[in-house]
Point group: C2
Chain length 260, copies 2
């Protein structure tokens, strides 16, 4: 569990959660428990995705994958325990930060974002779509669920802990939806154009695995246009919140321009 | 997910939860959400335990194991999604049954019972103990965690939903602890003496796998004595609660005399 948690990564989900709290003028430290929980869920999903029965990856974040070091059984159990522990950790949100009702709402949202109608559902759709040429709609379904739902949860959790009203939650939800799609389009572009050393994992694996990607369906230029469209939409919804969104905008620009 | 949930099994965890509510004179229906959640966690653990990288079992509850039907990847994900969904389902405890504070306590207890310091920790210890002759203490550590913690949670969840005081929780916790050990001793005895058709899975696999069991460490007669000791202890703690424990006693006798 610790090996994979400490392997690093971009920590984009905690960053989004803290930046959302900051947008409300709330102390980012209020989000520590939720941020740790969401990073644990993300990390467990990487451990299981990397297993030989799934993507069979040897390298993650520049280090051997969990099962390469500890074996498939322990990797499976480390993932299981991280997922379980995330629900223990999220309960550590201090009582002066959120009422029990708000904590329960955050927990339900996390379970929905991570489960069969969220991240795991997206992973199943992704596997079922392997070796097929997908439509753009099918590709978006995969990404909205596999990556998007947990990114969206990170923003929503911050907003819920900051006491956002429904209108703000709606706009931030839309912001996170478009940011998530932008994140994934850039992921596909980087698999085609990225630098293996910066990425910490092999590039070109999508092409080798005959995976449907945005560049494959839209051409590289079309994918770059789609990326810009999603970034613009994300920023539009952010502007509607009338919050102090400086850090969220920085993260949005980072997603668009990242090289790993 | 549905394939394995509907494969049946003894439903001992929901039974314990409902019987505990009954002991308090509380409507067992109040425990439906928690009972469904704990059975989902148990079922996910069986799916993952049966994987080729773990116990590599082909038969469970008289049917082909999940990965035999759906493949290793989908079985892994079905387990992940069941575990995640259990935390969504437990939130469906109606608000007139439990306050948000009690629901949060139940959720934390479930996560602890299922996670690295509970069931998953026991599974890791079990795997590390394979092909070794364990001490009785090591064997008990494995069973207290791998099976005992979730059985204990089932009783505690019922008690918490029924508004038990700390003294009742302590006695019921001890009851469940000894019942859990009795359950596991009988499991080991049945692997030696049971009928494959009644069990729905092969017998003799512990011996074939050189697993440490109670009969191996204590002889069959010694294991039967140990079973009776644990049953007696369970009943002593149950008597201390001064509750109407008729159904819990029936389950205790069932555990001692079950043939599958």
């Amino acid at each position: 569990m610790i090996y994979s948690l400490e392997a690093g990564g971009k920590r984009i989900r905690p960053l989004l959660l803290f930046a959302t709290l900051d947008a409300f003028g709330t102390n980012p430290e209020n989000g520590l428990a939720a941020a740790a929980a969401v990073e644990m869920i993300h990390t467990y999903s990487l451990i299981h995705d990397d297993l030989p029965s799934m993507d069979n990856d040897d390298l993650r974040r520049g280090k051997p994958t969990n099962h390469k070091v500890f074996g498939d059984a322990i990797a499976t159990l480390a993932g299981d325990a991280l997922l379980t522990y995330s629900f223990e950790v999220i309960n550590k949100i201090p009582s002066d930060v959120a009422s029990p009702e708000v904590k329960l709402n955050v927990i339900v949202e996390m379970a929905k974002a991570a489960g069969a109608e969220g991240m795991v559902g997206g992973q199943v759709a992704d596997m079922e779509g392997e070796e097929k040429t997908l439509t753009l709609e099918e590709l978006e379904y995969i990404h909205i669920h596999k990556t998007g739902k947990l990114l969206r949860f990170s923003v929503l959790a911050g907003a819920m802990l900051a006491g956002a009203n429904q209108s703000m939650l709606n706009n931030l939800s839309q912001f996170a939806h478009h940011l998530g799609l932008a994140f994934q389009i850039q992921d596909d572009i980087l698999d085609l154009t990225g630098n293996q050393q910066l990425m910490g994992k092999p590039v070109g694996s999508d092409t080798a695995n005959h995976k449907s990607t945005y560049p494959l369906l839209l051409s590289l230029e079309g994918a770059q246009d789609a990326l810009q469209t999603q970034i613009n939409l994300a920023k539009e919804y952010l502007a509607k919140t009338a919050l102090n969104t400086e850090l969220l905008l920085e993260i949005t620009d980072l997603v668009a321009s990242r090289n790993h």
